[in-house]
Symmetry: C2
Subunit: 374 residues, 2 copies
């Protein structure tokens, strides 16, 4: 059987690094020292091996461990476990990236819609896609619906709930979804557009399922979940149940020592997200330029026969940064701008239109440049 290779960075004195690497290798599967390991089959078929150990700085090492694929049981939760279950509790190690064999994905096909499916639904074949978030938490369902209407009239592609909108008494999930969806449909009827509303599903698994069914019946175009809040394996289950709705994944609670590349770029996609939101550099979070580029590339990747998904750089992006962001990411991108549209107050529709036309214009320029590039 084939192997999954897990890439870690290890902070460790040089004279201890071999011992530390060995302990990490064993920690993720058998959780036992070799001297307590009496079984030959286990030694040969379960215990992984160190395939790279390279010094990359003072007391810093790049470590790659190949674990037999069978240890993951081809299960999403167990994959996380073998990758970073116990080792996440050890502050000297970060999980950087996972290098899986294609066999892992037999039962884990990733995005159900992906870039192509989402673009078809939105009727936007080429240019970068636009998105905003309904906020602030605390507005009533009809106020949210009014906002959604304004944004849809302006012509955004996607209007999503802020990830903090739950089933609050002051804005219950069902009435919010019904009213926002109706508002967006009304705007679409008036403009001939095809804006979609994307409600946030949050709660325990049965609540999320109930919300998913309700949202689908209400006719929404996609849904959003925060996999670490509701359970990463629930994301997988929502897609494997052929839910029939594209899923945006939100990174809430995703900090810690699992690198964004591994968690957001790989895991969220593998579990079925069609679009993955992450903090863009220069906003109020701290991802580097390189991390952002790698995230976009991982989210769009089509290896292992998986659909490409859409990167959704977000987190304090201003409308004034459209050109910069698009030049950075290209057109296979959802531009998520929230607060900076809401700051416009009474000029919200106008400002949103300016944003959309800026996206269209820059998309256009970038397409032409691309065609002219030999």
């Amino acid at each position: 059987m084939s192997h999954v290779i897990f890439h870690y960075t290890l902070s460790c004195p040089e004279n201890l690094v071999k011992k530390r690497s060995e302990s990490l290798l064993l920690e993720q599967t058998i959780e036992l020292s070799r001297k307590a390991l009496f079984d030959t089959w286990v030694k040969e078929h379960i215990v992984g091996e160190i395939v790279k150990l390279e010094q990359i700085g003072d007391d810093m090492f790049s470590l790659s461990i190949a674990q037999p694929l069978r240890t993951t049981a081809l299960d999403p939760a167990q994959l996380l476990n073998v990758a970073f279950g116990n080792s996440s509790l050890q502050p000297d190690v970060t999980l950087d990236l996972i290098e899986p064999p294609s066999e892992l994905f037999g039962r884990m096909p990733g995005p159900q819609f992906g870039i192509d499916g989402l673009r078809t639904k939105l009727g936007v074949p080429h240019r970068a896609l636009t998105c905003t978030a309904l906020k602030p938490m605390g507005l009533s369902a009809d106020r949210m619906a009014q906002l959604a209407y304004d944004f849809a009239i302006a012509g955004l592609n996607m209007i999503k709930d802020d990830h903090g909108l739950a089933d609050h008494e002051f804005c219950p999930f069902e009435s919010r979804v019904e009213q926002c969806q109706k508002a967006v449909q009304k705007a679409n009827a008036e403009t001939g557009g095809s804006t979609i509303y994307v409600p946030n599903l949050i709660g325990s698994p049965s609540t999320v399922y109930r919300q998913m069914v309700f949202a689908k019946q209400a006719g929404v175009g996609a849904v959003m979940i925060s996999p670490l809040l509701v359970g990463p394996a629930l994301l997988h289950e929502l897609t494997s149940g052929k839910a029939g709705l594209p899923i945006l994944a939100h990174p809430a609670l995703g900090g810690g020592r699992m690198a964004p590349e591994a968690l957001l770029g790989q895991i969220f996609k593998w579990f079925g997200a069609d679009a993955v939101i992450y903090p863009h550099m220069g906003g109020r979070f701290s991802y580097s330029r390189e991390t952002c580029l790698r995230l976009a590339s991982l989210i769009r990747a089509t290896d292992h026969g998986m659909r490409a998904a859409l990167p959704v750089p977000a987190g304090g992006i201003k409308t004034s940064r459209v050109r910069e962001v698009l030049e950075f990411y290209g057109l296979q991108t959802i531009l998520l701008v929230g607060g900076s549209l809401l700051e416009a107050g009474g000029r919200l529709v106008e400002k949103t239109r300016e944003f959309i036309s800026e996206v269209a214009q820059v998309s256009n320029e970038l397409s032409i440049q691309k065609e002219q590039t030999p």
Copy 2:
């Protein structure tokens, strides 16, 4: 409505700390700057306030934010979101502890069994409880059952699966549970003991539910899950569904900047764990003495009308450390010893018996000392 107070540690230059605290406050709920906040009701009923900001070191601050309880929607996933959703992505902040009002727990009653329920099931009213883990991953179901039998014959209170035991082809969940449970029952019949077997449930939510039902029908005494692998809110749902089995919570994937006190000591218990496993100091993880003491105290706490749960210090504890660990934690403790029993090889039953009798003897001494203390 009352407030939940979230306590954070913030690493920030002194001249920026007011601004940074304000941004953290807003990040967790409205995700909007005050200048884009036009609604009076939201200002008064949703936006929280900073209730403490204290310098605790060079560029280090202790920050406490009171958020209106209504922002949590009294939902477990949303509680995590307001506590540390987006801010978990910001490396300058750690969530240290949560100070909830009792109203939070109306729909979140915590452990269904707790210390008393577990002790009744095990027939051990006073002394410290003993536990081991079936491992290594890779043994077949009948080999695991043989191990379980030996441990039960020796008289351990609880025999749990290692948290890496999933539904592997080489040791399928159902046959493992059936065989281990039978083995433990057989041993109990022979010894008159009441050892329980505790299988590990892992997978997507529907898988975990299926496993829970199967385990219950097989007659197991409790189950274990890793809430961050299978979804923290699933833990809550398993208990609120009146599953009728005590639940052990495992910390896998729980590293990162949510302090163990908040995640393991509070969240896991609030969501319903009857016993919480965590790395004891001096093993192969790095929790401090103070963290371990605080964890034990939080897990056992009975505030908010909640049942006390059992701390399960673990992670490389040797049988030779029984006295030290019990003197440290007292008797309301499950002693989880794994690898160090398995190292005994052919002397496993004997070594396990020595471990158990050591626990009994030290428990006894500690009880007597306690009675004699005026």
